[in-house]
Symmetry: C2
Subunit: 305 residues, 2 copies
Amino acid sequence: MSFDRVAIIGLGLLGGSIGLAVREYLPGVVTTGYDLDPAARARAAERGLVGTVSQTASEAVRDADLVIFCVPLGAMGPAADEIAEALPESAVVSDVGSSKQAVVNALTEALPGRTIIPAHPVAGTENSGADAGFASLFQNRWCIVTPPEHTDLVKLSALVSFWEALGANVEIMDAAHHDLVLAVTSHLPHLIAYTIVGTASDLESVTRSEVIKYSAGGFRDFTRIAASDPTMWRDVFLSNKEAVLEMLQRFTEDLTALQRSIRVGDGDALFDHFARTRAIRRSIIEEGQDDARPDFGRTDHRVGG
Amino acid sequence: MSFDRVAIIGLGLLGGSIGLAVREYLPGVVTTGYDLDPAARARAAERGLVGTVSQTASEAVRDADLVIFCVPLGAMGPAADEIAEALPESAVVSDVGSSKQAVVNALTEALPGRTIIPAHPVAGTENSGADAGFASLFQNRWCIVTPPEHTDLVKLSALVSFWEALGANVEIMDAAHHDLVLAVTSHLPHLIAYTIVGTASDLESVTRSEVIKYSAGGFRDFTRIAASDPTMWRDVFLSNKEAVLEMLQRFTEDLTALQRSIRVGDGDALFDHFARTRAIRRSIIEEGQDDARPDFGRTDHRVGG
């Protein structure tokens, strides 16, 4: 079994990239798509993000054998309500949300008895909207699929093959464990980045132009992820509250310990901490999860600018 | 007036890059250099980081008209002690340290009556050591010069010209203000990155291999600066303690406020915070202080890896 007619609900960075990737890597597959925002629909049609841009969500899913929700987490339930009647009986329903327990609950409530197999491609950029997507976004990135118990294995296998065709490496994981892992590797980093960029913006003693000017000292790295879509991230924190708060508690304890080391001038404790965080970067590069070049290979800003 | 004979004490990322940049952009200028580590001296000679690698610091500075200390902040005093007798009367003494009040104090104590003009090129990568330097490191980067009161303006102007020749844009600033600005734009970001990478390494509920595997969700951005030189950063936090603790206090307050918004489910507060941090990224890119391409223009890790 494989999917022939894929409907994409939400045509932003993720939805648009799926559409473009299907066109590139699964050329026989028919795509339809819908976005709540008329301007995004118009832009999606211009860019050819999907074969047909529909004027309603129901119309987009009517003939689909795979429906993928690419909307903010808080919009999953309402979007699923909207297509409930038009959804073909045998279609698989999936998504790309960054937290998974909340999604499976929302989709199951809106679409009782349907085949729901949530997924999360761990891929993205700081850009969002119908202009942001590109076909190669999922190449060599992980896609975590979190099937509920008793999921039809044929349908699960078809979803895995779909993501592999788009270039992703697929992992199967329990939704609760996914939410814990991503709280560490994605949600907490975003929260910290949003915080520090906010802190810097609010200072009176240091001007905003100084912060921008001297951002190459480290700060600019944080501004990239703090430029991510606010609606998406609001919903991530609301939907994965428990795991995020748990990780935040640990982070705060560690930060307090380093703060004390600075205050009392304990150089050995600082050195020991800083020395052991180096190895993890090497592992990330060895695993092909980041650019090995110094400074992420940044170059453009040196020329001209 | 311009400098003809530049001595570089410490041949790591910064010292090595200055040597290579002088060779490239100031070809008439003679360079000597010294590093405490014999292996670094050998590698510096192989790479031609300076014209002559000396076997002692005194030998390196004997004929210099500009001496630049490129050693960790805690080593500035001892390194200056070592060259005090050999240093020519008229030579200008400078450095590249990331905090400036501590440096001016240490150098003034070790070299009373000499011309000391501290400087801080806001440039670097996560790599360190004699292999890390490259000639273009300072191109279109800021170099902050913090002359003490009553600095000889002819010598100051020569130092400014030197850094401009290496490609930097020079700003003159009071040392205390420098330390406050850099606490926000560089020191606090490094402390936060070191903390979060440590927090993730210590978890039992999420394995280390999972953290590495799914690091593209945001975490990997932090691992880059948390891979920076531990000795250098230990000394930064010890030498700029007051400003770092002040900024850390503000950061912690802001984080606590966001934590509360998550706990009570205040989506509007989260959205408002996340929406206003976006603009600062745009400004940084407009000012030519970062790569405008999505995801810093990362590409290599997608190929092969």
